[in-house]
């Protein structure tokens, strides 16, 4: 555990799988699926190991890695460490939780990938590349590294959607590429401005330089308040596209519908969370003053997301679209929590990212299982699943319950905490927001009851229930959802320190 290579190993272990896959003959379908799944295990084991060690009091600072990498400008009048980008990985409670989420969902999504029909080799190579990108994003210790890993996910996703997606896959891939390309580009501007003017992209150093008047002298060029404000707004837009915040949400609809369900598990479960993670890490971490000024707006944006998503989810005919809008709606709760600007809200926001990660992964897992058998996800053509596929229908119902925030499941804890936070700071807004919770119940029940009960429709009549391989990830996810719902301390404890630190930064 003390090895300084621990995090590198965690992040890059899927690389081994990629190499092995490269030398596997094209036709060995079973071998490749096994390889794909097994290659996700090392990261999972390592991250769980770190997680439980952390719960037992291990200090994560010991895991930090720092190696020399690139020095961009080597001028005699600059100090040794200026314009240096180091290979820095380090984690705190928040990133550890996200890493566990990512590696767990990656392993489960790898199991769900048994439904992939063609070119398994390329699929699993890209899938593992995507996993490296996701893990790296959360482990990165500086902004440049964060960006690089983010772009890895972008490229991998483009191919995964465009090659293995549904009917309109190429369009979906493009829309993913462009929206996220714009988001990344804006993020890159922020990173470059900070790097060019502060000479570093290390998070800790940047924090120090931006807020400690004594360290300000080290800046290469000044970063005045006006510039900070623009940078913060740019960050808000960049991560607003990835989260997504409402006017920027069109791309996730296409991705949710067109991408293969196993990939959507990761997309909805982890990739959307990078937006939330980025907002917390960079938005709050680097620009707490601006974040405080904008907190009300962020809460409002959250409410808009919540209501808009919920309303549109209600009128969809395709279950995938319902879930897509449900993602938009649930991300609103993250924003609400962040906008509350207090400890409860922050905790609720982070809980919601994790909880929605599990729930959306579960629901898309089930979508994959359904689609495999019925070839449709349209609500009108599904019905009576409870008779033909009792297990699937039951899990679907359970997932929907978790999503609408039934007490005892993870959705309840996170929504409750987030709203609890907002009620303390902006009660009226929060009161309006609670409407969203009711609407969530309405649209989810409408969709799920339509599918499970009623007369059997053509698609579902003779369908077989889920197999053991399919059932394993379903029950793992259900167990996790209930565990977080019943015993939220398992999340609250590792997050405590990280949240404390952020609240200190916000001066609250």
């Amino acid at each position: 555990m003390n090895g300084p290579y621990f995090l590198s190993l965690l992040v890059f272990s899927p690389l081994l799988g990629i190499l092995l896959l490269a030398f596997t003959p094209k036709t060995q379908e079973r071998t490749m699926k096994w390889l794909g799944f097994l290659s996700t295990l090392p990261s999972l084991i390592l991250s769980l190991f770190a997680f439980f060690q952390y719960l037992r009091g291990y200090r994560l600072e010991h895991l930090a890695e720092k190696r020399d990498w690139i020095r961009f400008a080597d001028f005699p009048f600059l100090t040794e460490s200026t314009f240096v980008v180091r290979y820095e990985l380090n984690i705190d409670g928040l990133s550890l939780v996200m890493i566990v989420l990512a590696s767990l969902l990656a392993a489960l999504a790898a199991i769900a990938s048994i439904h992939i029909k063609k070119e398994w080799k390329g699929y699993f190579m890209l899938f593992l590349l995507l996993e490296i990108g996701m893990l790296g994003v959360f482990a990165a210790g500086n902004m440049v590294l964060f960006f690089i890993f983010l772009e890895v996910t972008l490229v991998a996703m483009f191919f995964l959607i465009g090659k293995w997606g549904g009917f309109a896959r190429e369009r979906a891939a493009y829309s993913y590429l462009l929206y996220n390309g714009v988001g990344s580009a804006i993020l890159l501007i922020v990173i470059a401005v900070l790097f060019a003017r502060a000479g570093t992209s290390n998070m800790e150093l940047l924090k120090e330089m931006l807020h400690n008047p004594a360290a300000r002298a080290q800046l290469i060029a000044p970063i005045p308040d006006g510039l900070r404000l623009s940078l913060f707004i740019a960050l808000l837009i960049a991560f607003g596209i990835k989260l997504p915040i409402v006017p920027f949400h069109r791309w996730i609809l296409r991705v949710h519908v067109q991408a293969p369900p196993a990939v959507v598990m990761l997309h909805a479960g982890v990739l959307l969370k990078i937006g939330a993670y980025g907002l917390i890490r960079f938005g709050i971490g680097l620009f707490p003053d601006q974040f405080r000024d904008f907190s009300f707006l962020i809460a409002i944006l959250g409410i808009v997301n919540l209501l808009y998503g919920a309303f549109l989810a209600f009128i969809q005919d395709d279950f995938k679209m319902v879930l897509a809008y449900s993602s938009v709606s649930h991300m609103g709760i993250v924003l609400i929590g962040l906008g509350a600007l207090n400890e409860a809200g922050m905790q609720g926001a982070i809980f919601q990212t994790v909880s929605h990660g599990f729930i959306s992964a579960l629901l898309f897992l089930l979508v994959g299982i359904l689609y495999e058998r019925t070839n449709t996800t349209e609500l009108d053509r599904l019905g009576g699943l409870a008779k033909a596929m009792p297990l699937t229908a039951g899990s679907l119902l359970a997932g929907a319950m978790a999503s609408l925030g039934l007490p005892g499941m993870s959705g309840f804890v996170s929504e409750f905490t987030a709203f609890f936070g907002l009620f303390q700071t902006a009660p009226i807004v929060a009161a309006i927001g609670t409407l969203g919770i009711i609407m969530t119940a309405v649209y989810l029940l409408r969709a799920v009851l339509n599918m499970t009960f009623g007369a059997s429709k053509s698609g579902a009549a003779q369908a077989l229930d889920m197999s053991v391989t399919e059932a394993v990830p379903v029950f793992v996810l259900l167990a996790l959802i209930i565990m977080v719902g019943v015993y939220p301390r398992i999340l609250a404890e590792p997050l405590q320190a990280a949240i404390k630190m952020m609240m200190n930064g916000l001066g609250a």
């Binding site: 990498w69 690139i70 020095r71 961009f72 400008a73 080597d74 001028f75 314009f83 390329g122 960006f147 690089i148 772009e151 890895v152 972008l154 490229v155 483009f158 191919f159 465009g162 090659k163 896959r169 190429e170 493009y174 590429l177 462009l178 390309g181 714009v182 580009a185 804006i186 890159l188 501007i189 470059a192 401005v193 790097f195 060019a196 003017r197 290469i220 060029a221 000044p222």
Partner: protein
């Protein structure tokens, strides 16, 4: 000038140039004396070896002190050495392309291919080292005229003839503008030596003269825009790139462009950096012209990237992409930060690697059917996964995705634009926005390669020369993308071109 003074010069500093001249001479004689029915492809190998030796000789010259010979008309300084290495590398790769160039109708003038390319390369090298307007112009014309012939080398092709004609006419106009600008400079300062001009230009405190000098600046810059194919002299690029034989296209897009940037930097910085002006910065004409350069850079990026969206022909697409890339490099120039020359050099290095790689694969794909439509790439992944992945690396690098040299290069330029005080935010924003636009067409090629089914299923074999290029370029693109420190370390020897203005 007596024999004695002639012999006293340190001719050693011109070794690379002499090697190129020698090889070109030998090749032209061999070509002349060779029976007509003999295959002339090996000539390209000889030329390649010559360029390789010149490359080694240039590396050998790196420790040499800054020297100037022939009454300061030929300067060997860090700038010249660094850029010559790029030019020679580009020349060598073009010759490898030429070796494996197999147009459908056959190529009658294969011998000319090799030695004309050497002549063009020689012109480019002289340009980077010249300390006098006269030598500079001679080098420029040597490069241009050789290129005109090279473009029209496929005599029976209508497209090639059209391309050559367009190239000559556009080139003529731009040369005229450059000369016109030079004539003003000569009129104002009374000398053709660049450094003396710089000294004289500093004395021009009269507003009238400054006005004329500013005019000369713009004329020079616009005239030279032809070589680097930036707005307003970019229109020739797609037609010429499409009509010219692929090796020549690659040569124009990399070597000729690199030489163009070398002149722009050498001439404009030396002459105008310290000349007084009336604009926003009265102490430096160059700084007061920053906005105009920035405007042209922005326009170039926008035009290049937007028009590229509509292209079906790969060569035209790469032509517009090369316009866009020239725009990015101009951002580095317009920003005028202290990393300017370093970042431009690195960009041109990355550009050399990724562009040659892409052209090598394009040449293989288009030669077999005499078509460079983008659909030629359909199903490349099925036909040859390795080649598809290599092309993927080049395209990702051109698009500026992390992990490739293209990203680091763009990042350098970008940083330069933001490092200065005040930062060039608008320019940086345009650069990044157009980069996102460029994703559309670069990833459009990915769609063909990876998503579309193959029209033909025959497996692809890559000839030896092209294989060499693809391997070297792909490894280089990845290497400099992951450990750019290697290039920086190498660049460190030149000490940030501190002897540039001495």
């Amino acid at each position: 000038m007596s024999m004695h003074t002639l012999l006293r010069y340190e001719w050693g500093v011109m070794t690379p140039e002499f090697i190129i001249i020698g090889t070109a001479l030998i090749l032209s004689l061999v070509d002349l004396l060779m029976p007509d029915d003999k295959d002339r492809r090996p000539l390209a190998w000889i030329a390649f070896v010559g360029v390789a030796i010149a490359f080694v000789a240039t590396i050998g010259l790196i420790p040499a002190e800054t020297t100037s010979i022939l009454h300061d008309t030929f300067r060997l300084d860090a700038f010249g050495k660094a850029f010559k290495l790029l030019l020679l590398a580009g020349g060598a790769l073009s010759l490898l392309l030429a070796f494996d160039y197999r147009p459908k109708e056959g190529l009658k003038h294969r011998g000319e291919f090799s030695y004309l390319m050497l002549c063009a390369l020689l012109g480019a090298m002289i340009v980077t080292s010249s300390g006098d307007l006269i030598t500079l112009f001679v080098g420029l014309e040597l490069l241009s005229i050789s290129s005109y012939i090279l473009v029209g080398l496929r005599k029976t092709s209508v497209q090639a003839n059209e391309a050559a004609l367009k190239y000559v006419i556009n080139g003529g106009i731009s040369t005229a503008m450059t000369l016109f600008g030079m004539s003003y400079i000569f009129g104002l300062t009374g000398t053709t030596n660049i450094k003396e001009i710089a000294v004289e230009a500093q004395k021009l405190t009269d507003g009238e003269y400054q006005y004329i000098l500013a005019l000369a600046f713009l004329l020079l810059f616009v005239g030279l825009a032809f070589k680097i194919s930036t707005v307003p002299f970019h229109m020739w690029t797609p037609d010429v790139y499409q009509g010219a034989p692929t090796p020549v296209t690659a040569f124009l897009s990399v070597v000729s462009k690199t030489a163009g940037f070398a002149i722009v930097l050498r001439l404009l910085i030396t002459i105008f950096a310290a000349a007084p002006a009336r604009g926003k910065d009265t102490s430096s004409m160059l700084l007061s012209m920053q906005d105009y350069i920035a405007f042209l850079a922005g326009a170039t990026m926008i035009v290049g990237n937007i028009v590229a969206l509509k292209q079906r022909s790969m060569k035209r697409l790469l032509a517009y992409s090369s316009i866009a890339h020239a725009g990015y490099v101009l951002v580095g120039f317009a920003a005028m930060s202290w990393v300017m020359i370093d970042s431009i050099w690195f960009y041109l290095l990355a550009y050399l690697l990724m562009n040659f790689g892409a052209f090598a694969i394009l040449q293989r794909m288009s030669d077999e059917a005499d078509s460079d439509d983008i659909s030629r790439f359909a199903g490349l992944y099925q036909r040859s996964p390795l080649l598809a992945v290599a092309m993927g690396v080049f395209l990702l690098s051109l698009a500026g995705i992390p992990g490739t040299a293209g990203f680091i290069a763009k990042w350098n330029i970008f940083l330069g634009a933001l490092m200065t005080e005040p930062g060039h935010y608008v320019l940086a924003a345009v650069m990044i926005a157009t980069t996102v636009i460029s994703y559309v067409y670069y990833f459009g090629i990915f769609v063909q390669i990876f998503f579309r089914p193959a029209a033909e299923t025959s497996s692809l074999r890559l000839p030896i020369g092209l294989t060499l290029i693809v391997v070297v370029c792909a490894l280089g693109t990845l290497l400099f993308g992951v450990v750019p420190g290697l290039a920086y370390h190498f660049l460190g020897q030149f000490e940030h071109f501190g002897d540039f203005l001495q």
